[in-house]
Amino acid sequence: MEEAQENADLTSQSINLGLNPQILVTGMNSAMARWSSVMLQDVPLLAKPGYVPSWKPMFGKVKTFGVNFPDSVEVLKPKVVEEKKAHEEPPKPKKVENEGEEAADKPKKPARIKPPADAITLEDRLFYMLQPPLNSWFSSQELVMPFEPFPYQYEGIAWLFSQKSAMLADGMGLGKTMQTITAIRLLLRAAQVRRILLVCPKPLIPNWQREFKFWAEEIPITTLEGDTARRNMLWSMDRAPVLLANYEVMVRDLGERPEEDLPKFDLVVLDEAQRIKNRDSRTSDAARSIPRKKSWALTGTPIENRPEEMASLFEFMGVVPERATPDLRQLKLLADVYVLRRTKDLVMKDMPPLLDREALLELSPAQKYAYETAEKHGTMQLDAMGEEITIQHVFELVMRLKQIANYDPVTGESVKLERLVADMEEIAASGEKAILFSQWTKTIDWLAERMPEQFGTLVYHGGVAHKDREPILKKFKEDPKSHLLLMSYGTGAVGLNLQFSHYVFLFDRWWNPAVEDQAINRAHRIGVKKQVICTKFICQGTVEERIDLVLKEKREMFNRVLGDGDDSSKSLSLNASEIFGLFDMKARHKEGVRKIQPKKEVA
C-alpha cells in the first residue's frame, strides 16, 4: 500500500539537455567531440559522521598473591655497653682471629636462608627466601651478637632455621651449641616457635645455661629440676620459651605419661643425641613420644659403632617410619637432606695446630715388678680357665694392668706422675694451663693429693657434686694460680669449652680414640689462640703400648676405607677379638695348646 502510494506521487518530466546526438556511419558519436556541460548540485549526506573506536586502552585486572609474616616476639633490649664489657673474655670467643685488614674491608657474602627441601608450598618457600641474610640481621640493632660467627656457622644457623627435621653433626669444637642457640633465637624472633625443649646430658646443663646467657641473653631459660611437683609445674608452663632438661628427667617425667598428658613443643632439641642410638631404650621411647613440630638432633658422633644407629636418630627426627631399617644407600640419601656435618679440617684451615706427642715411659722398678707379677698371674689364671674364659675376664686383667701402669698401688711409684710434675713445672712457670684426663676417678684423686701446691690443681669428675662443678671450671679459667685441671673422660670429655688451656695430658688411654678426641677437643677448639700440645702417656712394654698399636691400626684402616674427612663416624672401639689379642692367650688342648678366641664378637 505504502509503496503504491509512493509510486503514485512520482511524476515524469522531460528535460532538454541540448544534446544533439548524431550517429555517424562510422559509428563514431559526434557528441564525443563536444564539451560536456557540467553543473554542481548539493547532495546531502545520509547521516552525520560518527566516531567508533575500534580499540580501547584497557588491561585486564591484575591479580596478586601475598605472604604475611607473623609478628616478631618482643624481647629484652640488649644490655648497655658497660655490662657487655664483663663478657669481653667470653667462654667461647668467636672473633675471627686470622682475618687480615683486607678481609675486613671485603664485603661479606650474605648468609641467606634457603627454603628446606621439604618446603612444598610457595608460601613456605617465600617465607624463608624473604628473610634477611643472617649477617645483616645480626649487624642490625635488632639482634646483637656478642661475636661475629664464622661463615660456616652462618650457613649452619641458616640451615637449622629452615629445617623441620635436622641433625647438626659438626665435628667437635665447631660451635654446635652456638649455632643451635642462634637458630632458636631467630625462630623465636620470627615467631616460628614459642615453646622449645632442649634435652642434654646432666653435666652439660650448666654449659647450656651459660651459653644461652652469652649468645641470647634475652631468652629466659627454665631448667627442669627440683622435686616432682615442681617439675610437673615447670613442664606445664606455657610461657617459658626454652625448657632445659636432662635425659634422666625427661625419661622419669615423660616416659610413663599417657599421650594426652604429654607437654607439646614447637621444637625439641636433643644434645649429644647419640644417647638415643638404641631405639629400644627408654630414653629413645621417651624422646620420640614428645609431641613436637620440629625435631633437631645434635651430635659430634652420629655413628659411634654401626651406621644403623642413625636410623634411631632419623626416627626421632620423623624422617623414617617407625621401626624402619633403612639400608646404607637410604641412610646416605637421608643424610644428604637432613644431616649437616662439617669437620674441623674443612672449615678451620687457619686454626692453630694440635701437636700430638707420645710420651713413651719406662716403668719404675717397683711398677715393673708389680706389673709383671700381675700380668703373669693374670694370664695364668685366664689360661687355666680354658674354654670358660669370657671377654669380661680379659677386660678385668687389662684394667688391673692399666692401673699399675698409672702407679704402683703398694709403693705409690709412678713414672707418669714424675713426668707430669716435670712438664707441669714448666707449664705453671709460664702461666699456662693444662687439663689432664684419666679413666679413673681414683687415679685423679690420687694424683690431686700428690700435685705440688704451686700448680693450683683442681678436680672435675663424676664424684664432684653438680653444684660444685661450675665454680671449679670458673676458678680454673679465672684464677691465674690455677694451672691444672684433672678430669675424667666420662665427665669432662664432652661439652666443655676449655680453649684457654694449651696443654692436654692423657694420663691413661681410653678404648675408643673418638672419646680421646672429644677430650682433646675441650682445649683444641674454636677460639684457641695458639697451638695445643697433647701428651699421651704410654708405658713401654705394657698393655698400653699394645692398645695404642691396635687403635692406630684401626684408625688407619678406617681412613683407608672411609677417607680422612669424617673421622668420627667410625667404629673405633676395640672389639672382643682385639681385647683378647692384647695377650697371647692359649688354652691347653689335648696334648698341645690352641689360641683362645672369644665365643662371640662384642662391639
Binding site: 580499540w55 586502552p57 588491561f59 591484575v62 591479580k63 596478586t64 598473591f65 601475598g66 605472604v67 604475611n68 609474616f69 616478631s72 650474605p110 610457595l122 618457600r125 617465600l126 627466601m129 624473604l130 628473610q131 634477611p132 641474610p133 645483616s136 640481621w137 649487624s139 642490625s140 640493632q141 635488632e142 624472633r189 620470627a190
Partner: protein, 175 residues
C-alpha cells in the same frame, strides 16, 4: 605533603618489576621494618601486553605497566602500608603520580633507565644514590630522614634482591 615517619612506624616498601620476553611483566612489593625484617610480600601475576597495546603505547608502555598498572595495584593490595617506597627502576617512579607515599629510585648496579636533570632530582644518602621525580623532589629529604636509623654500612638495596628472587621463585612455581 608526605612527612617522615619515625622509629617503629617506619615500614619500608621495596618494589621491583621484572620483565620477561615471553611472559610480560611481573611486580613484587616487600614491606619490611627498618632493619629489613619482612612484614608482608605481595606479587602480581604476569601482565602480558598484546601487540596492539605494544604498538599504541610505544615507549610509554613500560612506565605505564610498571608504574601505574602493577605498582599501584600492589600498593592497593598490601595490608601493611609502607611509609616510603624504594624502587630500582626509573620507569616505576610514575607511581608517585597516583599515591601520596614518597617514592625514590635506589640506584644499584641493576637499575634500569638513565636519570636526567630535567625530570629527576638526586640525593646521596650514605653511599646510596636516590632519585625522585622532579615534581616530588622533597620526597628525597623525607626518605633520607627515615633511613637515618639504618647503619651506614648496611646494604640498602638488599631487600630489592630478595623481592627479585621471590618473584623468580613464584614464576618457577607457577610454570
Amino acid at each position: 605533603m608526605a612527612t617522615a615517619a619515625t622509629g617503629k612506624d617506619i615500614k619500608l616498601g621495596f618494589l621491583t618489576v621484572i620483565e620477561m620476553a615471553d611472559r610480560g611483566f611481573m611486580g613484587g612489593l616487600l614491606v619490611t621494618t627498618l632493619t629489613g625484617r619482612p612484614l608482608e610480600f605481595q606479587c602480581t601475576t604476569p601482565v602480558q601486553p598484546n601487540k596492539t597495546q605494544q604498538i599504541l603505547y610505544g615507549t610509554t608502555l613500560g612506565p605505564f605497566i610498571k608504574g601505574e598498572l602493577i605498582a599501584k595495584t600492589l600498593l592497593e593490595r598490601v595490608q601493611i602500608k609502607p611509609v616510603a617506597i624504594l624502587v630500582d627502576q626509573l620507569d616505576i617512579l610514575g607511581l608517585r603520580n597516583h599515591i601520596e607515599t614518597p617514592v625514590a629510585v635506589l640506584k644499584t648496579d641493576d637499575t634500569t633507565g638513565k636519570p636526567n636533570d630535567a625530570e629527576h632530582a638526586k640525593r646521596t644518602h650514605n653511599r646510596n644514590e636516590l632519585y625522585a621525580l622532579k615534581a616530588f623532589s622533597e620526597d628525597l629529604a623525607i626518605i633520607a630522614e627515615m633511613l637515618k636509623g639504618i647503619p651506614a654500612e648496611a646494604d640498602l638495596g638488599e631487600p630489592l634482591y630478595r623481592t627479585n628472587e621471590a618473584l623468580r621463585e613464584t614464576l618457577k612455581t607457577a610454570a
